[in-house]
């Protein structure tokens, strides 16, 4: 399972490095979305750092939807799926590999957007840096959940509009946990509850993915 996971993750990241979709399409989208969110708050509130954590995570959710779709589209051509199916890869390993690759991509994007949130949304640098561990865990949970929901929504072959309606309700507690822990890192406050939410979600999605990804691949 681990060997397959590393093989699949390396393949997905190699494809990303070649195609540079993250660099030339997703990151610019994320930065623009951050700027737009500032504009949407209006001139009085645009520079208000208290909105920073929430807006950061809202933009990350939108970025995640794009990346999840991309992760599935890579596998999604019928011919590729058929060829790869004959390799007999362990589905649990495939799930872990795709989730790991997606997590790496989200972490990289998150790093850039955290910089954006310091610059554009005026979140304090020290507080933003101390939010890094919770951002890493929350985005990992998002990646695990997203990989599952990406496969559920048709694996790149289903309508693109299905993924958001399936996944966003599941992402909502991660949005809450992420925003609250980022805010606590900026302004002080208890962190353990929000860490617990993100960790429980991460473990739950990893567990379900390892157990049931094979069922989704069969279907």
């Amino acid at each position: 399972m681990i060997r397959t996971a590393l093989l699949v993750a390396a393949k997905d990241l190699r494809i990303e490095r070649r195609s540079r979709v993250l660099l030339w399409q997703v990151l610019p989208f994320g930065v623009m979305a951050l700027v737009l969110s500032g504009l949407a708050l209006g001139p009085t509130h645009a520079g208000h750092s208290s909105a920073g954590p929430g807006l950061f995570y809202l933009v990350m959710l939108l970025v995640a939807l794009l990346m999840i779709n991309r992760s599935q589209v890579i596998e999604g051509t019928p011919g590729t799926k058929a060829s790869v199916a004959t390799l007999g890869l362990d589905p649990a390993g495939v799930f872990l590999g795709k989730a790991l690759a997606l997590a790496v991509e989200l972490w990289l994007t998150g790093l850039v957007l955290l910089g954006g949130s310091v610059l554009v949304l005026h979140t304090a640098l020290v507080g933003t840096l101390s939010a890094l561990p919770s951002v890493v865990v929350t985005l990992a949970a998002l990646a695990a959940a997203g990989t599952l929901y990406g496969a559920l929504s048709g694996g790149g072959q289903g309508p693109a509009t299905l993924l958001p309606v399936l996944s966003l309700p599941a992402f909502s507690p991660l949005l809450i946990a992420g925003e609250r822990s980022f805010s606590a890192a900026l302004h002080g406050g208890g962190l353990w509850r929000w860490w617990l939410i993100s960790l429980v979600a991460l473990v739950a999605y990893l567990g379900v993915g390892i157990l049931l990804y094979g069922v989704l691949e069969e279907s």
Binding site: L148, Y149, L152, S153, G154, G158, P159, L162, V165, L166, L168, P169, A170, S172, P173, I176, A177, R180, R193, I197, V200, A201, A204, V208, L212, V215, L216, E218, S219
Partner: protein, 240 residues
């Protein structure tokens, strides 16, 4: 014989209990000393919420799990899960409506980002997502498996969403029925009405589930007939 009798009696008994609920709730019980007549929503809102969030979602989850387990996999489980989610969505919407009706005079707004209302709304979108997934899929096996996984994921999310939203913000009325020690807060005819309401809406769930299940069976039978015709037509292509 017993099964037939209980099936025939389900509808009439449900209607009688609903009628009793409304009669007791609107006329027999006195107004609450603090909330006045607004408290009469207590006789429907908790019962509807219990059906929406626990009974129907729980039924869908169990049926979905049984579908995914090879030994109990059958089209019956898939149908039960599907119908339970549809009925759940109806009750979720009713929960939100009755909750808002109570909230407007109490909090001054129709929607106040209360923990329970927000969790319920999110679960409603889960239900919509489940139904959207089924509509997007023609292939029975694929649709059944994917829906079953979605239902199980939704069930796993129930406690996660519940705690995250609750810790985030709580404006909701504290427990209306039980004290923290587990004793009843509501007494006398109010408590009786509450139990009647719980029974009524629970039976209503099963009545609606059964009716919806019957429609699903008829739809599948019609589809099977058209499949037989499609097969015959396809075979004729081979002859000509």
């Amino acid at each position: 014989m017993m099964k037939l009798l209980s099936q025939r009696l389900l509808g009439p008994v449900t209607l009688v209990l609903l009628a009793l609920t409304f009669w007791f709730g609107l006329w027999v019980t006195p107004p609450d000393k603090i909330q006045g007549n607004l408290a009469r929503l207590l006789y429907v809102h908790p019962a509807i919420a219990w059906v929406a969030l626990y009974l129907s979602f729980g039924t869908a989850t169990i049926a979905s799990a049984l579908y995914l387990w090879k030994r109990s996999r059958s089209v019956v489980m898939d149908r039960v899960a599907h119908c339970a989610v549809e009925v759940s969505l109806v009750f979720i919407v009713l929960t939100l409506i009755t909750g808002s009706l109570w909230g407007r005079p109490t909090w001054g707004v129709w929607w106040a980002w209360d923990a329970r209302l927000t969790s319920t709304a999110i679960l409603g979108v889960f239900a919509v997502g489940y139904l959207a997934l089924r509509r997007a899929n023609d292939d029975f096996e694929q649709r059944a498996r994917r829906s079953a996984v979605v239902a199980i994921l939704a069930a796993i999310n129930v406690p996660i969403i519940h705690f995250s939203v609750q810790w985030w913000k709580t404006l909701h009325q504290g427990a209306s029925v039980f004290t923290p020690g587990g004793n009843f807060k509501v007494h006398g005819v109010m408590l009786t009405t509450l139990f009647i309401s719980l029974a009524a809406f629970t039976l209503l769930f099963f009545w609606l589930l059964r009716a919806r299940y019957r429609v699903e069976v008829l739809r599948d039978e019609r589809q099977r007939v058209s499949l037989d015709e499609a097969l015959a037509q396809r075979r004729r292509e081979g002859v000509h």
